[in-house]
């Protein structure tokens, strides 16, 4: 344990680590969460030309929006949808732009575009919510069901796969409970979803030198002549690297959760994710989705840590190790769109390469004839890859160091 403690201390002692953690914290927690809530995502807008032109009043806008949404009875029905649209149009007609901003107009407008396309007037530049006749917004759930079936057909998902997805969809409770959606939409669609991708950059910077740094510091001869030898050192390095990953993740997520509690609170946690994306089929509520997204980032980070540690153990050079570590995550992201669909899906299983927002999608993997919804594999396979890399890291390190 003492060796692990000291290896862990060695990681934190490096200036590059402190700077990386600070930069990542500023980017994710300060810029991506605090300022996003208070300023550019939820601040009221005077001109709508740029998010950065918003007012610095996100907190009060969110609280007012939440209060506003309670007026519609807590369930999304034809009647409540009509009421919301009508209310928005009344505010706009009265020139109450700030009050109109407090509505869920973006989310509601996306519902209208998807379920009532025949009401869209192409020649009008305004958003649908501002001109549709609320009385025509009927059969919300019937139209949604049709939209899902149409989507599956267009996606070429039929037969057993279609059945599997529709069975999953059937488990979603209707009518959907409804409160202020846009806060959760921003959180699940952007803030928490991007956590892993950003963490990858800084994890690569920190962990790429855990093993290869010993060559850089010219300490390998010293390490090899100590009683504990390469095996114990390698194990201690891996545990210390994982410990750092956990701490790094906790630092970021705790910061995000605290800010979420302050700005958004937990109200609406039991809304289904279908209120964010209507044709999502997973029977998950917001809290479950949030847990999934953090779990995805956590397990992905652990998996990625395993991959980077293995690369670090195999390389004798810090720069090479860093470049390979970055390539392991950003390389597949860059080339994925040029690859066949099945290969794209396979690459998504690499740590932090896929997206946690697959919970809103209908992607599946077919393994030995069985359909599996992609998020199940996207959260488990990356961590297994990382775990597999760890003994390889120990073995590569031993071979390298003995040469």
């Amino acid at each position: 344990m003492e060796l692990v403690r000291l290896e862990h201390k060695k990681i934190w002692r490096r200036s590059s680590v402190k700077i990386s953690v600070l930069l990542c914290f500023i980017y994710i927690v300060v810029f991506g969460t605090a300022l996003s809530f208070q300023w550019f995502s939820f601040g009221s807008s005077d001109d709508h030309t740029s998010s950065f032109g918003n007012n610095f009043d996100g907190y009060s806008m969110i609280k007012e929006s939440q209060k506003y949404s309670y007026r519609f009875g807590g369930a999304l029905t034809d009647e409540s949808l009509q009421q919301i649209v009508r209310n928005y149009q009344e505010k706009k007609a009265a020139g109450l732009d700030r009050e109109a901003d407090q509505t869920d107009w973006q989310t509601i407008n996306s519902y209208l575009g998807m379920l009532y396309p025949e009401l869209k007037e192409e020649e009008l530049y305004q958003t649908m919510i501002s001109y549709v006749n609320p009385e025509e917004l009927t059969d919300f759930y019937g139209r949604r069901e049709q939209a899902i079936e149409d989507f599956l057909e267009v996606s070429g998902q039929d037969g057993a796969e279609r059945e599997y997805l529709l069975q999953m969809e059937a488990r979603t409770e209707k009518p959907f409970s409804y409160e202020f959606v846009e806060g959760w939409s921003c959180l699940l669609g952007s803030m928490a979803a991007d956590l892993g991708t950003v963490m990858a950059l800084f994890l690569a910077i920190v962990l790429s030198s855990v093993f290869s740094g010993e060559w850089h510091e010219n300490t390998t001869a010293l390490l090899l002549t100590t009683k504990n030898g390469w095996g114990s050192i390698a194990r201690a390095k891996i545990i210390a690297g994982l410990l750092f990953t956990v701490e790094f993740f906790l630092l970021l997520t705790l910061g995000m959760l605290l800010l979420q509690s302050f700005f958004l609170g937990w109200t609406g946690w039991d809304m289904p994710i279908q209120t964010i994306k209507l044709i999502a089929i997973a029977p998950l509520n917001m809290l479950q989705a949030e847990l999934y997204e953090y779990g995805f980032a956590f397990f992905g980070a652990i998996g990625f840590a395993g991959v980077v540690l293995m690369i670090s153990a195999a390389a004798k050079n810090n720069v090479l190790s860093l470049l390979l570590g970055l390539t392991a995550v950003y390389g597949p992201m860059m080339i994925v769109k040029y690859l066949p669909y099945n290969l794209q899906k396979a690459l998504d299983l690499l740590p932090l390469v896929g997206s946690s927002t697959d919970i809103f999608r209908t992607n599946t993997f077919r393994i030995f004839g069985v359909y599996i919804w992609s998020p199940y594999l996207l959260i488990t396979v990356p961590v297994l890859i990382g775990i597999l890399c760890m003994p390889i890291a120990v073995s590569r390190w031993s071979r390298r160091i003995k040469k």
Partner: protein, 291 residues
């Protein structure tokens, strides 16, 4: 305790770094002298079991050291030639880290660290980061880490490199105190260090031990080959070009040369007492160093 080198050989491709070296080391201080590229570091790495030999073996009390694994490393203290360290660790943290690598319990490690930092004169800078240390201070921390586990076999590759004369004297005294009932092997270019503390000296050239023995035994081999010659200043350069000059000093407008030569170099040359450095120069002085 007996450390034996049995026909120890190391090849790097076609280059022979260590060639059929044999020795039997019992407790005492052993000095390894040789020019750059003579094979000292390779030999020391094989003695530390961190480099596999091409042929031959190193045996401790009859057991092959690479097969002894941790039990051999537990007896070992090693200061590599290019001593690596962690710049962001303090001196104290660095020694704690090495102590953990050596499997020394935490309490004992803290006590030993404090003691060694005092011994090597770094107790006042124990909390300072290694990146702020001078070359000599880093070398001293290197010596301290090698001594942490109170090793029975201490191998020091160029331990006095970067130490100032006062630090070298402190190091010699430390080693003399420490060496009792232990095998200490040190290599250095600084002949006076070996002369002062080594019980036995090995002269290494082109991967082989060309000579070994105690300092008096070895210096006796240079007896009759060391001369002092006083020449006018204008002739000094000529003598430096044509003879192995170990030293020169200016005195009253003339130059006094210390010359290593099998024969009397000039009529007025006077024989003088040989020291180990003369022997070193006798064997290595006239050839270009292999780097």
């Amino acid at each position: 305790m007996e450390l034996s080198l049995d026909r120890l050989t190391k090849h790097y491709g076609s280059k022979i770094a260590v060639d059929q070296v044999n020795a039997c080391l019992t407790p005492g201080v052993y000095g390894l002298l040789g020019a750059n590229g003579a094979g000292k570091t390779t030999l020391m790495r094989m003695l530390c079991a961190i480099m596999e030999s091409t042929s031959g073996e190193v045996l401790l009390d009859g057991k092959e050291v690479t097969s002894m694994g941790a039990s051999y490393r537990d007896l070992l203290g090693y200061l590599p030639q290019d001593f690596g360290y962690y710049p962001n660790y303090t001196a104290e943290e660095f020694l704690h880290y090495i102590a953990a690598l050596k499997g020394i319990p935490k309490g004992k490690a803290r006590k030993k660290t404090k003691e060694l930092l005092h011994t090597v004169g770094l107790d006042t800078v124990a909390k300072k980061k290694l990146k702020t240390f001078s070359g000599g201070m880093k070398q001293r921390i290197g010596i301290a880490q090698a001594l942490l586990n109170n090793p029975k076999i201490l191998i020091l590759d160029e331990p006095t490199a970067g130490l100032d004369p006062k630090e070298r004297v402190r190091f010699r005294n430390l080693l003399s105190d420490y060496a009792d009932n232990k095998i200490v092997i040190l290599s250095t270019h600084i002949v006076s260090d070996i002369e002062a503390i080594a019980d036995e000296v090995f002269l290494m050239k082109k991967g082989r031990f060309i000579m070994h023995g105690s300092v008096p035994e070895l210096t006796s081999k240079a007896e009759g080959k060391v001369w002092e010659l006083t020449v006018p200043q204008k002739e000094s350069r000529k003598w430096q070009e044509q003879a192995a000059v170990a030293n020169l000093r200016h005195e009253e407008g003339q130059v006094i040369l210390r010359i290593i030569s099998d024969t009397k170099p000039a009529e007025n040359a006077i024989p003088c007492e040989a020291v180990l450095e003369d022997l070193y120069l006798y064997y290595f002085g006239m050839e270009k160093e292999n780097v």
